[in-house]
């Protein structure tokens, strides 16, 4: 039995909660449930009872400096959510927990790691199992959360990936964009605003699209399947890994899977292709031959 075998895996158990477990524990006093969805209005039109809303593009970022929320903003948010350092935080959202995982990456930089969990399957599974939704917003007692400067250990910077591209450093870059973005056929998925000057990928990076880590029902694949998936691309945890995408948000889903479930050493590169592909004087690989958009 896969489920039974996985239930004994401490890493997986620490990182994920099942929909069944969550429904039983919705009223637990030290639990805070937070929705981080991509689509506006998703939370407002119905959320898991007791869940609070976090808007990814304004609550968790410093919009002007293109950075994660600074200590002051972060602490204000967590106080409003009633979260202390000993609170169990369950994150979930639409689109297979894409931005919920990004939220987990931001929380982890402020030292909230082991008590942060994703709802396995997110909104998709919760709704498919016909579990209840609520439109009322919970009112929670504010906490006194304090935040120091975020730790830099989970975040890769431009200089780090450039060192890997120039083979000056022994790290692996996992690019989780679509194969067409990776090869350089397109610069970005249709309809997105943030673009790079060039198409292609960072030399030495390998491509495993982020959604491959997820089953059709939205749950994260079994540990054995995940290991095999990444091993096929040469990633087995023996070397440090950097996850990258276009703006660093889809890649935090793979960061979560690799670091929290497989226990590999991983940093997320949130500058990603919009930073790297626009930089002057750096090497890129463009399999499609579309550099500069012309041939």
């Amino acid at each position: 039995m896969r489920v039974a075998a996985e239930a004994k895996e401490p890493a997986r158990e620490s990182a994920l909660v099942s929909t069944e477990w969550l429904e039983k524990n919705l009223d637990a006093p030290k639990l805070r449930l937070v929705e981080v969805s991509v689509e506006p209005g998703q939370y407002e039109r119905g959320h898991i009872p007791g869940a609070q809303n976090v808007v990814w593009h304004s609550d968790l970022v410093e919009t002007v400096t293109r950075d994660i929320a600074g200590p002051e903003k972060f602490a204000t948010l967590l106080r409003r959510l009633g979260i202390d350092r000993d609170t169990t935080i369950v994150l979930y959202g639409d689109n297979n927990n894409w931005f919920a995982a990004w939220g987990a990456w931001v929380l982890a930089q402020y030292g909230l790691v082991d008590n942060v969990k994703l709802l396995d399957g997110g909104r998709k599974k919760w709704e498919a199992e016909k579990r209840p939704l609520d439109t009322r917003t919970p009112e929670v007692k504010a906490s006194t959360f304090q935040a120091a400067q975020p730790s830099a250990g989970l975040r890769a910077r431009f200089a780090d990936v450039l060192a890997v591209a120039r083979k000056e450093r022994e790290e692996q870059i996992l690019d989780i964009r679509s194969p067409d973005e990776f090869s350089g056929k397109v610069i970005a998925p249709a309809g997105v605003q943030e673009l790079a000057i060039r198409a292609g990928h960072i030399p030495g990076s390998v491509n495993v699209p982020w959604a491959k880590a997820v089953n059709p029902d939205g749950t994260i694949k079994s540990t054995a399947e995940l290991k095999a998936l990444y091993a096929a691309a040469g990633i087995d945890g023996s070397k440090p890994i950097i996850t990258s995408c276009r703006i660093g948000e889809r890649s935090s889903h793979s960061w979560f899977v690799l670091s929290r479930i497989l226990g590999y050493p991983v940093r997320n590169y949130d500058g990603s292709w919009t930073e790297y592909g626009n930089a002057v004087g750096v090497p890129v690989v463009n399999l499609a031959g579309t550099v500069w958009g012309g041939k």
């Binding site: 506006p40 209005g41 407002e44 498919a128 917003t137 309809g191």
Partner: protein
């Protein structure tokens, strides 16, 4: 009957697909909206023309009723979603747009388009269900107008829209203040209409309930109450009312395919409202809403004996296309039409809704008067 059943079955079918609840609801709400529009003849232009020509204020009072009912409904929804409106955030996907000269221009063009083609986009959609000879041309013109809107968007955005403020009344007045101010403004307009208008002696017999609902024309205020209720339900469960997102989105897709679109539409996708994001799904909530609207209007027209298809005359076709062109350009540039920007916007407390509305009626009046003087419009 068969059409109503068909819509219900269609909604049931769509809603059972994974993630299809919103699609099913959209179809049902669109059908309700189409039924109400047809029964109450809820047409912004004809109701305004009634007032201009005969001083009959009843239709315009019906529009004010819709706005008042929607204001109250939206206040309930918004208060639950965003208990404190004073921050920097706007309510999710509400039609609150930038207020500036481009919005006024869009409203004027839209109003002119209504006068030339005989009604606004939503009314052309329900008239399509009635077999109107003008409506197909007006809708074709609307698509062309959207294309023209895309072509002119970038310079307008850079010259003005990008710097125009997005004004949301509850942020400045609180929900209670915004509601009170909105209702007071509507009451003032109602008083003015009543003062200037002349209610004709009512000759219509009440009739049996079924006749009153399915055959006789509804008083516009009843339609208005229903529109307010449908708008609230729609915003709560699916999206604010709007009829141009699908038309605009599909036009954008087609124009992009033929290489007729500018490389980038600056800032367009950052606005809410009847946004024209390119659609990749076959069925979208707004597409089903519009489809339901047209089908239910057809069903209502059939039941009432008002389905009267006719061959279009050259004048009707020309007026449809030219008016539609103006309607489409105005709706694209104003980020919505008389339903999205005016109705949904005002209900949500957007200043853009009021500005668009005033410009729209101004444009319609000026065009109608000028067109009649030149003997171009009836």
């Amino acid at each position: 009957m068969a059409l109503g059943l068909g819509i219900a079955l269609g909604a049931q079918r769509v809603a059972t697909e994974p993630g299809g609840t919103r699609l099913g609801l959209s179809l049902v709400l669109g059908a309700l909206f189409g039924f109400v529009l047809q029964r109450a003849r809820f047409c912004f232009f004809c109701l305004w023309r009634d007032f201009l020509d005969t001083r009959d204020p009843r239709g315009m009072l019906g529009i004010l009723t819709a706005l008042a009912a929607g204001l109250v409904g939206y206040a309930l929804v918004l208060g639950a979603w965003m208990p404190d409106p004073s921050g920097t955030r706007l309510p999710p996907d509400a039609h609150i747009g930038p207020v500036g000269p481009v919005l006024v221009l869009a409203g004027l063009a839209f109003g002119a388009g209504m006068a030339v083609s005989g009604s606004c986009i939503s009314a052309h959609l329900y008239r399509l269900g009635e077999g109107s000879p003008t409506a197909p041309f007006a809708l074709l013109g609307t698509m062309l107008g959207f294309g023209l809107g895309f072509a002119t968007w970038n310079p307008l955005y850079l010259a003005s829209v990008s710097a125009a403020p997005v004004l949301w009344l509850p942020r400045h007045l609180g929900y209670a203040g915004a509601l009170a101010a909105g209702l007071a403004a509507l009451a003032g307009l109602a008083w003015l209409l009543h003062r200037l208008g002349r209610v004709p002696a009512d000759t219509a017999a009440a009739g049996a309930p079924l006749t009153a609902i399915f055959v006789a024309r509804w008083p516009t205020w009843i339609g208005g109450l229903a529109v307010g209720a449908i708008a609230t339900a729609s915003y709560l469960r699916v999206a604010p009312l709007g009829v141009t997102a699908e038309i605009g989105g599909r036009t954008r897709q087609a124009a992009a395919q033929f290489g007729l679109l500018p490389e980038r539409l600056e800032g367009l996708d950052t606005f809410r409202g009847c946004a024209t994001a390119v659609r990749d799904a076959l069925l979208t909530p707004n597409g089903l809403f519009v489809g339901g609207l047209v089908l239910a209007a057809l069903a209502a027209a059939l039941a009432a004996g008002q389905f009267r298809p006719a061959w279009p005359s050259g004048a009707q076709a020309a007026r449809g296309v030219i008016g539609g062109l103006l309607l489409g350009w105005g709706a694209m540039t104003g980020l919505g039409c008389s339903v999205g920007t005016l109705l949904s916007g005002i209900m949500a407390g957007a200043v853009s809704g009021w500005v668009f509305g005033l410009a729209m009626f101004g444009g319609a009046t000026a065009t109608l008067l000028a067109g009649r003087r030149l003997r171009l419009l009836p």
